[in-house]
Symmetry: D2
Subunit: 325 residues, 4 copies
């Protein structure tokens, strides 16, 4: 509705499918004859005026590529009033009438503050491998990360089985166990340690023991990284003391989880989000996060999305106990 | 509630994740101390008594494998009264008190008839790459097939771009365009031809022309196979006549689409279906298909599942026109 | 040795790793402060003057990408004296003192004629998935194509096994069976039909029968496409008539074989070829093809490379008979 | 010549393709009507009598699988005279007239001692991802590991580029830099640190600086693990102190490098080695390692293979300096 110029950026940690989302924004803008600016390096670039015009030819051949060609960063300056002031000056300079931000929780917290201080409509697209954003069943990049993790664990299972070893595998997920829970189910883990589920060493030991009694030759424990990095080492060590004859190893998957060509699901999801984000701006929406629920596009205010915590699927936790036996 | 023996089989076309579903059935049965029989080759094996007992050790190391280790087949005999009689005799012989069938529409039609003639509770698990089953958002194998198709098209795009070629790519989907639509969106297809959407040659030609005007170097048309195999050749030929200077090629993806290690999503989905199918039997459910909607398990009677047609997501069709420009 | 400007092009069919070779040429030229021109679309582009300067920044992020960003084409005009004259005029226009051509047999035949008519040193880099070039153990793209073919056949084996089907799989290789032989060994094919090895229907039938007697559930016959496309259909049909109860299917892999990110081997090989090609020009070499033998770089004149036929490894043919049993 | 029974085992670290080698041994033995025994868990299993008969049906569907279904282990007991005595008693018990050992340097050292003490012909098949065995251009598993490493680094490059980060990546290779050198070339590393090549922090810093000056957005340093694990952390820390404004991360690839389905090359290589190893026994060869050189099968005595050190390809080290600029 009268939007003639808009900006798009990626912010926070990168995730596979961000490029597909940018491409969809650019194509949709072109369709409505809206001029589209790409802001490099997230809020940092907005503050520093690192802005380039994007036409459809600029987003060719990026649909299937991991990462984000607009690059991304975290910005301490944007947490300051001065920083946001400079950011808004660049918005005025380029006459942007709307902003689309692809990122995670931190990015939307920044967007909420920014939107309350300045008159700029903002639409958020959830892009993070952690899937820990309220207001959407799935975030862009999560499905790809799951498949990457599962493929890596499958390979580790090959060697674990060949050596009768027990592996503790740490996957990403600071505050949430989405990746750990689903990848653990998908790889037949003996146990899965996630922030959403209490555990004790005794329970962990009984899982390990059970696997051993059944003569399972591949024994994997999947651990969400949690707030304290490296706790996987402590767990492995405690288990080694309890079971001195086991050959126990640790593997921390690390940054590989963020990369890779996006899966089909992530490409389609990102494309839908990109199209709908532009249309939301045109329909006067602002300060909302776009999401998907049961295949339908939904919107949630930044406020609600930030305050509420997305719950992990209890049904899946439940089946873990049945299946891992 | 009192089930002591059950049978599980795969039927119809195979799909990745079927093994994960079987494994979950076997593990859940073991948990409830139910004896579990695997029936090989679907209804054919049930008629011929091709039955083996399955313990958890028998389903080790299959979670991540494509295909179905119980094998699958189509059975003409099961369409006859005589065939179904023999099948029931084997059910009596093994004292099965419930049957879990992993398959597609045709399999559930057979199950419905069988369940109306004989007193055997049956639970269906939707397993097909086509995703064309009413009563569930996703079928087991569909997500994997999408990723396989997208990976193959990505490779074809490499060579198409290097040669400035236009490719017509035929993917599976006899009555439904789920694979074609989503893989086409995910690979930046110029146009997508699916059963659910009318097309004319003129519309196709204008898509091709538009891609050319934009100087797109990779030009892909994705076509669902439809009822008449090979129509992709007719389309390519007509396009070649209209655009004689184009270098047009055809690629039919074929059986590769059915294989491959299941994706994380399919492994988790199949595992959930397997657990819940056994529990449904225990709770006295019968002649229902298990499904997933917005992450929750749901049930639909075979009757409803067979009669109703699953609709393709109109929103995704809509964005095609925006994004492919 | 006084080379100040050189040109590089890709010609003929594309193959994975061509981008890595171009990148290595550009980097090596930069190292020696040689100006490097990229010629788009092979000889066609040379005739039409489709030339761009290439600096190292222009070849960033292409090392791992399939296809060729310089694009490739076949050129009928280059077969004419007039065409080659125009090509040489462009070489003079850009003052190129050397030309590096990445391609296959046809490209080097053109190079030989061109080099005999005009004073321009040419170095050839063998780039083709078929591996059918004399003067090198391996061509750029061959190893990647093998892995692509094997991955696709692995997936087909999943579904073949699930259905007890026999598959005839046609792979690329017009005059040579390198891909068919190696991918067939790697996937446990019952038989492999290649141009270098006589076969009779009787021999084929006995392979099929043998597989059946052994109760093999996956039965694959790999066929090199050969000169007459579609002969795989005739073979399948004849086999079906002989074994009417078999469920026989055909799969033609097609263009997927040309695409995909290059394997590690192809990236390293292409990089070595690119570096050594520039150094060969500097050392005054001309009209030679670069190659690798036992890990060492070797050179062969275009004349010899074109006249002689690369022989397939007889040892590998021999083990087929042992292993497929 | 008169061998009627033989044994096959995998020993030391597992590597992809070991299954393909076992399969080839079993098939070749069957062809010559030799009874074949599989020894589980390497020398440990030989000492403990963990032996099973292997027929062709037992090695179905393993050709494409990572790891080793015979499992592998290291055995301290085999270093003792008493241990080897028990091992030989089991060889006598099963009347094995030859032994095929698939493994690495340590395994062949054991084989040499064993062969000097007891009258049992032994043939070695080089199976290790490190490629550090004298007497063969390639070991079984090396090519697969290279591709795994390259795929993982490609993914890390996605995220590195998105964040302008510098990554230190540690890959396997205790005494040799084969994996580091080749994967580094294949992923465009700024520098590669391997045991075979001296380095100083100053040289490393200048590589880092050069990458920065060229505005490279993806900056990767690949480090062979070397004798002291974790030295990658020290390197990263020193670099961080020198370049305080860089965002530097470390990634240790770990056990994923051992797993995965073998590449086409490894499957064919392993199959050839398996066939030729049996034939070598039949021809009276003993205490030799089988190898490949320029596509031909060669044999080296254990003594020579153990004493000599395989040299890394100097040409590839040379091109690193040219290409990484």
């Amino acid at each position: 509705m009268g939007v003639e110029k808009l900006g798009v950026m990626t912010s926070g940690g990168d995730s596979p499918g961000m490029n597909a989302a940018i491409r969809a924004v650019v194509h949709t803008a072109a369709q409505y004859e809206i001029q589209c600016f790409g802001i490099r390096l997230g809020y940092k670039g907005l503050i520093e005026g690192d802005v380039l015009e994007l036409e459809t030819k600029d987003v060719r051949n990026i649909l299937h590529r991991g990462g984000t060609f607009l690059k991304t960063a975290r910005s301490d300056k944007f947490r300051t009033f001065e920083g946001r002031k400079k950011a808004y000056e660049n918005i005025q300079k380029y006459k942007m009438e709307g902003l689309i931000i692809i990122g995670g929780d931190g990015s939307f917290t920044g967007a909420k503050v920014f939107g309350s201080e300045y008159d700029i409509p903002i639409i958020g697209i959830p892009g993070t491998i952690d899937n820990d954003i309220y207001g959407t069943d799935f975030t862009v990049g999560y499905d790809t990360a799951l498949n990457t993790v599962v493929n890596v664990i499958d390979k580790i299972v090959d060697t674990a089985t060949s050596h009768n070893r027990l592996f503790f595998i740490e996957v990403m997920g600071r505050d949430s166990g989405f990746i750990a829970l689903n990848s653990g189910i998908a790889t037949g883990a003996l146990d899965i340690l996630i922030p959403e589920k209490d555990y004790t060493l005794d329970k962990l030991f009984s899982s390990v023991e059970r696997g051993s009694n059944q003569g399972k030759s591949s024994r994997i424990i999947v651990v969400a990284e949690g707030k304290k990095l490296g706790r996987v080492y402590a767990l492995a060590k405690a288990t080694q003391i309890k079971f001195p004859y086991y050959d126990i190893r640790v593997s921390i998957l690390g940054h590989v989880q963020r990369g890779g060509n996006p899966s089909c699901y992530d490409r389609v999801l990102a494309s839908r989000f990109g199209v709908e984000a532009v249309e939301a701006l045109l329909h006067g929406k602002r300060e909302v996060l776009i999401g998907i629920r049961s295949g339908k596009i939904i919107f949630t205010t930044f406020e609600e999305a930030i305050q509420k915590q997305k719950e992990i699927n209890k049904d899946i936790i439940k089946i873990l106990d049945v299946i891992s036996v």
